[in-house]
């Protein structure tokens, strides 16, 4: 009984890390550009698909990194299109690009699920066997979040990004190129999405339309922090992953997405009740 619980916790945290990475990609883009990027899930699919191809010729580590780099470039390209218009219109642009990505993905990789080997083997945790790859996911995600926090609060570029998020008009006043910072945010979003895809695929096959599950859960995690707080997004993603693992373990795995949606709606209603006038501050 206890061993089951430990197993669910670890797999839940692993899955949750994927959601948290997707969610933090949404946050990185939204904070700087005010664009809700519906192509965020597609970055993960592109990363995963690329890794599945690259790993047939490249060794582990390099293949995954190359896939993340491709996802970052895709992020930049989406940003180039999305930052030419208002944040509201950009939302539709990203949605359109996410659907367009289906076509490209099916054309290049087909419509069948793909996967590749992750960290082999299994480890024992409280008498239960868990795929070692789950620990790798957690072991990569947490340092990535720590590095992101350092980047945004300690480095010049990170502070300039935070400045754009805090007050875009003032950022322009002091000569920060806000559009370039937006493109950088999209690139970071692409890399984070790609990383999520690369990390999660060995334990969960990916298909061209896996982005829906990823973005719904990633969005649910991000909305907990009002789409602006990476740390809360991490906690939200982990909670979501663990809850889903517990529901799947003790109940019915078919209800996973409903939980994410339910949580998301509950949070949004709660936020609306608590602060009805909360809207974006005028620039």
């Amino acid at each position: 009984m206890l061993s089951d619980l430990a197993g669910y916790l670890v797999t839940g945290l692993g899955t949750g890390c994927g959601y948290a990475l997707i969610g933090s990609g949404l946050v990185a883009v939204y904070r700087v550009t005010r664009v809700v990027n519906f192509a965020q899930g597609a970055f993960a699919v592109v990363g995963a698909m690329c890794a599945s191809s690259f790993l047939s010729v490249l060794p582990h580590g390099i293949g995954e990194l190359a896939a993340v780099a491709v996802a970052a470039v895709v992020g930049l390209l989406v940003g180039l299109l999305a930052t030419t218009t208002t944040p509201q219109s950009a939302l539709i642009v990203t949605l359109g690009l996410a659907v367009f990505a289906y076509a490209v993905e099916v054309l290049v990789w087909g419509d069948q699920p793909r996967s590749f080997a992750g960290l082999p083997g299994a480890v024992s945790i409280v008498d239960t066997r868990v795929q070692a790859h789950y620990l790798l996911i957690i072991g990569v995600t947490l340092p990535v979040f720590a590095a992101m926090a350092m980047f945004f609060t300690r480095t010049d570029t990170g502070k300039a990004l935070t400045a754009c998020a805090s007050n875009p008009y003032a950022a322009r006043v002091i000569g920060i190129d806000v559009r370039r910072m937006g493109l950088l945010a999209f690139t970071i979003g692409g890399a984070l999405g790609g990383l999520a895809g690369v990390l999660v695929t060995p334990v969960q096959q990916v298909t061209f339309d896996s982005d829906v599950t990823l973005i719904v859960n990633g969005f649910a995690a991000a909305i907990l922090g009002g789409l602006t707080r990476p740390a809360v997004t991490l906690v939200g993603g982990l909670l979501l992953g663990v809850t889903q693992a517990l529901v799947a373990g003790y109940g019915n795995a078919a209800h996973q997405t409903e939980i994410a949606l339910g949580l998301m709606i509950a949070v949004m209603i709660w936020r609306a009740i608590r602060r009805p006038e909360t809207q974006e501050a005028p620039a």
């Binding site: 010049d156 502070k159 300039a160 935070t162 400045a163 998020a165 805090s166 007050n167 008009y169 003032a170 950022a171 322009r172 006043v173 002091i174 000569g175 920060i176």
Partner: protein, 222 residues
């Protein structure tokens, strides 16, 4: 230092500035006064390159720093980070010289700018602008929403900067009396056009201007 010639700025079909010409010389303090919606902020935003002229020309010799209307500090960042961002073009970003001019900012350095009072935020905005080591400072509404004592303090600092470091200032003000007291020369902007210009004391004696701007200020002060 600043040379604006026949400047026209439009927002879509609306003309915000219509053939505006003005200049600010080295080390000079010049006021730009006028009612709400006259186009004062549009002019500064054009000077700092945020808006593009539809016609005419804007030239700034040396470095212009812009203190925007409503202070516009980075509320999520500390005072120190706000200042450093102002000096981001330089490798050397010592905030010491700005602390020497505005000592209060040294005390507040670790506070988040969003938690400060209006006067303190205005100091942050001025300090952030000074960090770019400007030759000319364009200040959009120095006194708006600030207590008179706070304004007096800021004005003292500005005078010092002007006298000791030769910093030129283009001061945009709703409080015309304050602006005319501080600056030797002034322009009056109404509905996108310069309607009067000259030495401040002459403008202050102009009956029509006094009725339009200086009368209102007395009422404001009470």
């Amino acid at each position: 230092m600043i040379e604006v010639k026949d400047l026209v700025v439009r927002y879509g079909p609306a003309t915000a500035l219509d053939e505006v010409s003005l200049h600010v010389d080295d080390g000079e303090m010049v006021a730009l006064i006028g009612p709400n919606g006259a186009g004062k902020s549009t002019l500064v935003n054009t000077l700092s390159g945020i808006l593009k002229p539809a016609a005419g020309s804007v030239s700034v010799r040396g470095r212009l720093a812009h203190v925007p209307e409503g202070r516009q500090v980075f509320g999520d960042l500390t005072v120190e980070d706000n200042l450093r961002l102002g000096g981001r073009r330089y490798r050397q970003r010592d905030t010491g010289p700005v602390h020497a001019i505005l000592p209060r900012l040294a005390e507040l350095r670790h506070r988040r700018a969003g938690t400060l009072s209006g006067g303190e935020q205005q100091m942050v905005a001025v300090g952030r602008a000074l960090m770019s080591r400007p030759d000319v400072l364009a200040i959009d509404e120095l006194s708006l929403g600030l207590a008179p004592l706070v304004v007096a303090d800021l004005v003292t600092h500005l005078r010092e900067l002007n006298e000791q470091q030769g910093l030129a200032v283009l001061l945009i003000e709703q409080n015309a009396r304050l602006a005319l007291d501080l600056c030797a020369r002034a322009y009056v902007l109404e509905a996108g056009r310069i309607v009067a210009e000259g030495p401040s004391d002459e403008l202050a004696r102009d009956d029509r201007l006094a009725a339009a701007y200086l009368g209102g200020v007395v009422a404001d002060a009470e």
